[in-house]
Structures are given as C-alpha cells and as structure tokens.
Symmetry: C4
Subunit: 240 residues, 4 copies
C-alpha cells in the first residue's frame, strides 16, 4: 500500500500553485512540486492543469522516474522530469518551481549573469546555473520531457538555487515550499530591477558574503510574505 | 435559406472576444473571427463593438467579400476585409485575431524581426510577414477598409502565422480559435521579452527546427491556457 | 440668473473624470473640463477633488477668468486657468484634459518629439506643442495658477491637439469630451510604444497625410471605446 | 504608566500601511511609522507583519533605542532602528517610510542621481542622501538591525527628504504621515519616469528653486491624493 501524503502538505502545495499564478510567476504554464513527506523518493505535483486552477484532487504523487504512484492518475505534465531528477540529485531540495517568468528570460537568452541587486535576492549570490539544451540533445522542442534531459538540467543546476534555461525559462529550488516560492517571486523581481538598472550605469551587486548573509536572514522571515500571499488569494476553496 | 452557425461555435467566439480583452491583446479596438462551421466561404465576426463587450447577438456571418449574409445586420467593423481575404487566401486558416497589442508595434515600425525567444512562441519560427500599406495604396488612413487592401495584407501574410502591419498593429491566424488566441497572447509576450533582452546583449533565438518542434508540441497543450483564460472571466453571461 | 448646464453634460463630465482615472491617465491629480452647453464663455470643471472620486455635486461652472459663476463654490483646482485660457483662445475646443500621464513626461523633459507610431494616434500628426514655463515666468512652482500662465500655455498649444509641459505633464483638447478623453488615453499609449521602439531602431512614423486621414477616421469610431470605458466602471453612482 | 497614543493616530498609521501596499510602494516587506503624539521620544510601528495586512492591534510603541514600551509586545521588525535613529536625529520628522520600491533601486545601485523630473517630486530637489552600508560595517546582511547602523543611515539622510540604500531600497521622511506617504509614492513615480527618459535624451530636471517652490505648493494639496488612496482601499475593517 502506498503511504498517503499528509493532507497539510497537499493543501500547502495547492496554495503554492495559486500563489505563483497570483504573483505573476506563471501564467497557464509552469508548475510547482514538493517532496513527499513520507516517501523521500517521491514528490507531489499537479496533473496537467494551469497552476492558478489547481485543486486538491489534482495532486498526484510521482516516483523519481516520473511515474505516478497510482495506476489511474490523470494526464501528467510533460516536464515532470524537471522535478524528478532534481529531487534525485539534490537531497537538500524539498520544493521546485519551474516557470517562464518573463523578466528572467532575457538573462537566459543573452547569457548575461543574473546577480543580486538587493538583499531580497541574496539567494542569487552563488550565481545561477545555465542550461543549454542543445548541448544535451541537439535541436529539440525545448521541453524536459525525458529523464535524461532532467538529469542534464540537474547537472546544470549543480549546487545553485536556480538554473536559467535558454529559450525556455528557469527553475528554482528550496528546502521548503515557502522558500522555493519566495525565491521564484524574488528572482523575477531581481531580474526586473537588474534589467532597468542595466541602462543606467555600472551596477554594484551584492558581493558573495553580503548575499549569503542576506539569504540567511531572509530565511527567518519567510512566513511574512507567505502569509500575505495566501491572504491575497481571498476566499479559498481548495477543492474547486 | 442560410445555414446557421453552430451555437457552440458562436459561444466560443464570444469567449475568444472576451479573452483577448482580458489578456490585454486588445483594448476597445481589434477583433477576432472564426470560419463558419457549415459554410467554408463565410466567417463569423462581431458587429462594431469592443471585444470585451461582445455578446451572442453581436455575432454576424459575412461572406468572403465582407458582406453580411443577412440583410439587417448591425453596423460592421470597417476592417472585416482583413478576415475575409485571409480566409479566401488560406484554406488552412480557421480563425484570425487582429490587434494593436502594444509590444508588437515597435517591431512593425522599426522593421526589427520578431523572433522566438522561448518555446511558447515557436509559431514565430518561420518569421512574421511584414505589411507596408504604402506599397499597396500610398498614403491612407492605415485601415484595411477595402477588399484589395485585405488581399495585399493576405499576400504579405503569405504562409506565415502572423503579419506585422507598419503603423498599425498585427494579425495572427490559426487553425482554431484556441490556437489563434494562444498565438495572439504569446506573440505579445514574446515581443515584450525580446524588447527587454535587446538592451542586455546579443540574443540567442530558437532556431527554425527548435521553433517548429516547440510549436508542434504546444499545439497539444492548447486546452490548458484556454481553460485558464475562460475561468479568469468569472461569472459569464454571454448574452449581456 | 445663471443658465444651468444640461444634466446630461454634467453626467458625461463625471463619467469622463472616472474614466481618465480608471484608464491610468490621471492619479490623484489632473482634471478634465467641458465647455458649458449654454454659455460659450464658461466651462464645467470639478472642484478640488481626485478625478476618480468626482460626483455630480462637485461640478462647478467657471468663467474664462477662472471665477466660479456662483458665489459659494467649493475650493477650486489651482490650475483651472489651463482650461479657461484654452477655451478663450480656441473656439473649436469643447473639452480639455490635463494630466501627468507618465509615459508622456519623458518626451516633455528631453524635447524628443512625440509622433504618431500608429493610426490610433493620428491626432499627433501635426505635432505636439511644447511649453517651457521658464520662458513665460522664470522659476516657478510649475503650476498654471494665474491667467497669464494659462495664456502662455494656450499660445504654446497653438493649433495643435496637445501640448507637452516641461517638468509637469501635458494637456490635450478635443471638440467633445469623447474626443478629448480618447486623445488623452492614446497619447499615453503612443508614448509608451514610442519609448519602447526607440531602443530597437529607427522608427517609421505615420507621415502627415496618413496621420490626418487616420485621425479623421478615428473620429467616426469614438463611441466604441467610450462605451467600453463606461462599462468598465461597473455599477455607477454618479452622486457618491 | 505609559501615555497611550491617540486612537486617531493609530488608525491613520494602519491606513498608511494599507495604502503603501495598495499603491505598490511595498510588497510583503517594508514599513511605515509615525512619531508618538504624546511622547516625542517614541514612535508607533507595526509588529512583524506585511504592511498590507496591518491591523490596529499590531501597532506597537517603541522608544528611540528600538525597545517596545510595553513588556509583552509581539515580534518586532528587525529594522526598527531605521525609524528610531531618524526620529532621534531629525526633530522635524514625524513619519518615516522604508521600502524596496522597485524603480528606485536602480538609482541606488548605479549611483545615478535621482532628481525631480516633474513638480510632483519637487521634494527631491535637494537631492537624495546615499547610504553605503559597507562604509559603516563592511560586509553585512544589508539590514539596519542595530542602533549604530540606524545612526549611520540617519547621517547619510542628513537634511534630505530621502536616502537611497545601496543594494537594499530607500527611506523617505515627512512631517506627517500624509507627507511621507505622498513622498514614497511619488519617489517611485519619479524614478520610473526618469528611467524611461534616460534612454531618450538629455533630461531637463527641475532646478532647485523650481523644486522647492513646487514642493511647498504640493504640501497644500496632500489631502486630495490621501483621500483617494483611502477610498481605493474600499470597505475597511482596521481590526482584521
């Protein structure tokens, strides 16, 4: 018998889906997952549905090969291997957000380094990984639709908090849903500010020590924005 | 007796009108049409009304000369010839969106090629057509208000998925309403990202094969954003 | 006895106030007026109140010296002389919008000509007037708070449809409230597009003949966006 | 016994919190304070909570060492020393807003002077202070989490109306909540306009005398936007 995920974790994952839509990180595409609370080699992810519309019943548990743990699971996202292979490669990671958030993409297609312009994005201090799918697979439809592509992406992520995906978008990780969602929101904010500053003059970024110290501090404040973002969703019915 | 359009198609066209307004593709101007389900040489288009306010009763069937099929039709859009002549020239096209979506216009007035920066816009891989109305008609009010102008526009569209119209806006086509609306939304997104990336450095675009493969894949996912966009409209009364 | 303004005109002016706020032309500042229907040397303008909150009871009739026609009028806007002196200088003008709409200001402070990038802004074809308050009055608080400043502004407006005010904002005129509001909305849209296109390459603007023809045509379509903008205001109580 | 703050002032501070969120000055982070009406060496500030969610019960009185006046106060903001030390250094200041408003940050990280592009931002005429935390403390987490950092920030503020904080955000002051909130909103607006104008050409800023005269005038108009911003909050329950 398969151990069921905790109802609290399922609810939090539904909230995370709605938040990343409400905060403009994703539109109809993109996804967020969390590692299974009882099965370290499994994770929870919605079936094929826009994140802003995800309900409890859409949450499916997958193994690290991207196979649903139950036989009659609904149609999955094509790119569930992003999540599967990152959970396999990174035991410290418990949550993953994949998006096409628009201000980050210019960095992925010009290879301009995305670096922390303010303390809120201290988690960018170690730099972002960079993934060029052509190196792994030549010309493709750009999607991480096979395990070997997920493995290549996980290698590009390395020990970073995020990876830019050329011609596609980005993926961020965290030790919790709150942290991964926070990073997804502020990676987009940082990118927008960096784009604007780029035209003004030479940018003084946080140095690595500032970035690390800021990131450590922000991790003690994650509940404040999370609570705001949940409140902003208004009256909630997680079942519809 | 004229064959009536299917009520389902009329409803979908009303939804498409509301979506392109809600998603910021059009403001008070612009329009979306669909080829008649029973009469291949006719198409459905709203009468002269802002897309965000279009109701079932506003939908009129026109022939490919832009003439309403019924005698007492309400005041039409001046530019219905955009639709008429594209349906005549392109049997593969079943839906057309014409808009002034703001991030696309800079490309039309500087002749900078609009190219796919991410897989969501793979349909741009064959490039956009370019229409200079001066070549067809000298100095005009810029509108496609006559059949010969629609024919010139259709020639500039050629076999592409979209055409940039200098000093005016753009027109995108699709094999279905879902596909044409998807393309209108993501042409605007792609343009915004390309504008931002332009100031950062040299852009690595999707190559033609990547774009084609991505476009083919996206076509299998059209229901996900469409369902989101309909849901976002909230409580719906298609009659008022 | 003073001839009362028509209730229909008062209502339309209240709507115009709410629209220019809802459409992002004004924030808490800025104003819109209309020439009095029965007294050509008078105009209607709200008392000192944010346009988005203007009610029927806030509308005051002023003469062309900026004096209220009734003795007990509420506190006026400091800059009512913008309106008064333009109505005096331009018998063809029946409505005036003054705003700080944000995308227009960069043109006023860099003296970059604002020119029509698309047919919707054909009314810019004759160019915008340019007003430098230092030439009229040296160092000031930038406000048109005296009749002689309004006269200087009206001279800079000349026969144009709008005038850029350095370090301040802009003023647009029309033969009707619908036309002036339309122009205020699309001057801002045009400015935003022109700003974006500026970084891409050399811009092909509408030439003067295209602009004039487009403007003439748009004037036949004013009811479509006006009706949309009113509808967007939702449930309306013009008294509160 | 501690003198209680006036209920009217507490309510106004709750409104100020909600306004700076609604107007986009802050997201989940940032804060606004007001000097205590009865105790000049104390100030009112919310406990650790997103400004958009602050309620009457969250308001805490602190002394100028950043210590809560009551023993059982809820968890405070880490950066209350921003407020404490500015109130100590500037007897003329009665309200402080600290934010990461996004368009201001590019100026803080490129050392490009933020200067008044329009009369609404005349308060920028004396220039903004500039704070580099490295000069005070070397590599840090960027936060003003100790009194000596607050003192260094207050020295960088000097007699200005605002101070840019490298890699962090900005802080603005006022003689009243209305004035500080006004300045926070229009500092962001000015920054956005200046960023856009920067790419167009050389900018003609307000000169110092224009800026001072404009600022003096704006101070007579503060109630108009404040009333709009409160109205925009809709139905209000200051207790939840």
């Amino acid at each position: 018998m398969i151990t069921a995920a905790s109802p609290e974790l399922v609810d939090k994952l539904v909230l995370a889906n709605r938040i990343i839509y409400d905060q403009g990180v994703v539109d109809g595409m993109g996804h967020v997952s969390v590692r299974h609370n009882a099965l370290p080699n499994a994770f929870l992810l919605s079936a094929n549905r826009a994140p802003g519309l995800v309900r409890r019943a859409d949450i499916v548990a997958y193994d690290l090969d991207g196979q649903a743990l139950v036989a009659d699971a609904p149609r999955p996202y094509l790119e569930r291997f992003i999540h599967a292979e990152i959970y396999r490669a990174r035991p410290d990671v418990n949550a993953v957000v994949h998006s096409h958030s628009p201000n980050v993409i210019p960095f992925s297609i010009t290879r301009t380094p995305l670096k922390p312009v303010f303390h809120m994005a201290g988690f960018l201090g170690s730099g972002a990984g960079f993934f060029e799918i052509r190196e792994a697979a030549g010309d493709t439809d750009m999607l991480i639709r096979e395990p070997y592509l997920g493995q290549a992406l996980a290698r590009s992520l390395g020990g970073h908090t995020c990876v830019l995906m050329r011609g596609h978008g980005s993926t961020v990780v965290g030790s919790s849903l709150e942290q991964a969602v926070y990073r997804a929101v502020y990676m987009e904010s940082n990118a927008k500010i960096q784009l604007q500053a780029n035209g003004l003059g030479e940018i003084e970024f946080l140095n690595e020590r500032e970035a690390r110290l800021a990131a450590d501090c922000n991790d003690t404040q994650l509940q404040r924005p999370w609570f705001l973002w949940v409140s902003k969703l208004g009256e909630l019915d997680l079942d519809s």
